[in-house]
């Protein structure tokens, strides 16, 4: 058990716990920002400024009765939220969130702030997000209820449609960076042009960034693409029949998917942990700031824009977003080939 191995195990546990905390924090942020956008107060009773509200929510969810419909398929009904939550956590395993650090000289070799350093990190994220479709579709089917089945089918059809644009936006970045490793892509964005403008890919690939964020919002089933979960339409869609901790696991999976999409967008387009005024070893502070900004934009968009109807959603995904993503990829490839970007 070398010190590096102990540090890596510690890092894995740390990332796991922080993802759970981030989901709880997102619950609070969502409710508070929604309230402020709607000119009301939001949670303010539990703790100062309502900061302990997520704790109250979690305690309430834990004490609720765990229900299962009699006609539901027992194995799949229990397995579906597990698949969703597992895929959500696994996707974050290959996301780096800081530069290599020696932990103030305790370690002989530098520790990468990444749970698993894989060459094909970008593809792994894409693969795991394909797997998360199964959690939803199995939840819809195994509940043996019409609302759940419709919601599950709609959600999974939406997710696989937007996966194409998601992958093409990723492909544009891979073409520009000539590497699939997230650490190399981030390190490619260090430094500045003219000393002022940071060398982030968002300035070279604005269309790619927009396509990625749109497809990411649709992948995580968030508004304005959350028709499958729409309260007014389908009761609650695929998680109608779930209660207590299973429902909490779906919620958790959704928030952690949001965090993962924001973190990957930060790594790919916003320069990861590089930023002015701070040394490299404190880069994770910049990372947190950028991910926080993207998550705020997520919540902002949810409570500002109306929801897309399902056929509008599918038409947007196939007829508008996919051609834009393809054209973006072609233009990027041409740029790299002929202009050496």
């Amino acid at each position: 058990m070398t010190p590096l191995l102990a540090a890596q195990i510690g890092l894995t546990l740390f990332v796991f716990v922080m993802l759970l905390n981030s989901a709880a924090a997102m619950v609070y942020v969502e409710r508070k920002v929604a309230a402020l956008l709607q000119q009301r107060l939001g949670p303010y009773l539990v703790g100062p400024q309502g900061l302990l509200q997520p704790l109250a929510d979690i305690i309430k969810l834990m004490f609720k009765e765990e229900l299962r419909p009699a006609a539901a398929d027992p194995l799949l009904f229990t397995l579906a939220p597990i698949i969703s939550a597992t895929a959500a956590f696994t996707a974050f395993a290959v996301v780096p969130f800081g530069a290599e650090t020696r932990l103030f000289g305790l370690l002989d070799e530098p520790l990468r702030l990444q749970v698993a350093d894989v060459n094909v990190a970008v593809l792994v994220i894409f693969a795991v997000s394909s797997m998360s479709v199964y959690g939803i579709v199995l939840a819809g089917w195994s509940s043996n209820s019409k609302y759940s089945l419709l919601g599950g089918l709609r959600a999974s059809a939406q997710m696989i449609s937007y996966e194409l644009s998601y992958g093409l936006a990723l492909a544009s970045v891979i073409v520009m960076a000539s590497s699939m490793s997230l650490t190399e892509i981030v390190n490619d964005q260090a430094g500045t042009w003219f000393g002022v403008v940071p060398r982030w890919y968002v300035f070279l690939q604005p269309v790619g960034f927009l396509v990625y964020m749109t497809a990411g919002i649709a992948e995580t089933n968030r508004a304005p693409f959350d028709f499958p979960e729409a309260e007014q339409e389908l009761v609650a869609g695929y998680h109608t029949e779930y209660s207590s901790m299973s429902f909490a696991m779906f919620f958790l999976a959704e928030y952690i998917n949001m965090v993962t999409v924001s973190a990957v967008a930060t790594d790919l387009f916003l320069g990861g942990w590089h930023g002015p005024f701070l040394p490299e070893s404190l880069g994770w502070i910049w990372f947190l700031a950028k991910v926080g900004a993207l998550l705020f934009i997520y919540v902002w968009i949810r409570w500002t824009l109306p929801r897309y109807r399902y056929d509008q959603l599918m038409r947007f995904g196939w007829k508008l977003l996919l051609p834009v993503a393809v054209v973006n990829l072609i233009v990027t490839a041409a740029g790299v080939l002929y202009f050496g970007l």
Binding site: A127, S130, L153, S156, E163
Partner: protein
């Protein structure tokens, strides 16, 4: 080595359960498990790109569509038949042919296993595993099969849309 046996065992067990399980949804899910085990085997063969692409394309996209079809068609459980079944080799027509083919394949498998060296094989072309190498080979040596495959998929797509269309498309008069 132990990982190879683990993944191999999972793949074989899942594939056997696919064809013997009664509930078709479970069959689809077990097929996905078998693809996951195959992907693990690809990683052991030092082809991480192929492993991940297998998960993305096969287990992630194609099997979702399989699952849609099985769910929407609401395929019933296959109950065990009450009628006493004669031995497959004595039944008529396709059953007899299928049974004979299964016996022939089993004999061939036993023969191939008995002829093996006993140790793990070595691959000479182990260099073609990185993404860049696969891409280069795909667009130079295998460019023609690549293009033909895309046309084939397009033909299948058009055929499926045509077959699934209603008999009398409404014509505006």
């Amino acid at each position: 080595m132990i990982l190879f046996y683990a993944f191999g065992a999972v793949a074989v067990a899942a594939s056997l359960l696919v064809i013997t399980h009664r509930n078709p949804i479970y069959s689809v899910l077990l097929l996905i498990v078998s693809f996951g085990a195959l992907s693990g085997l690809y990683v052991l063969l030092e082809a991480p790109f192929v492993a991940v692409v297998q998960i993305i394309v096969y287990a992630g996209a194609i099997m979702v569509l399989f699952l849609f079809v099985v769910m929407l068609l609401n395929a019933p459980h296959e109950d065990a038949e009450r009628v006493p079944r004669p031995h497959p080799l004595r039944r008529s027509g396709p059953m007899r042919f299928g049974a004979a083919l299964a016996v022939a394949l089993a004999v061939e498998l036993a023969w191939a296993l008995s002829r093996g060296d006993g140790g793990p094989g070595r691959f000479t072309a182990g260099a073609v595993s990185s993404v860049g190498a696969v891409g280069r080979v795909l667009f130079t040596d295998y460019a023609f099969p690549f293009e033909v495959t895309s046309v084939l998929i397009l033909v299948a797509l058009v055929g499926a849309v045509l077959l699934a269309r209603r008999d009398e498309p409404p014509r505006a008069r």
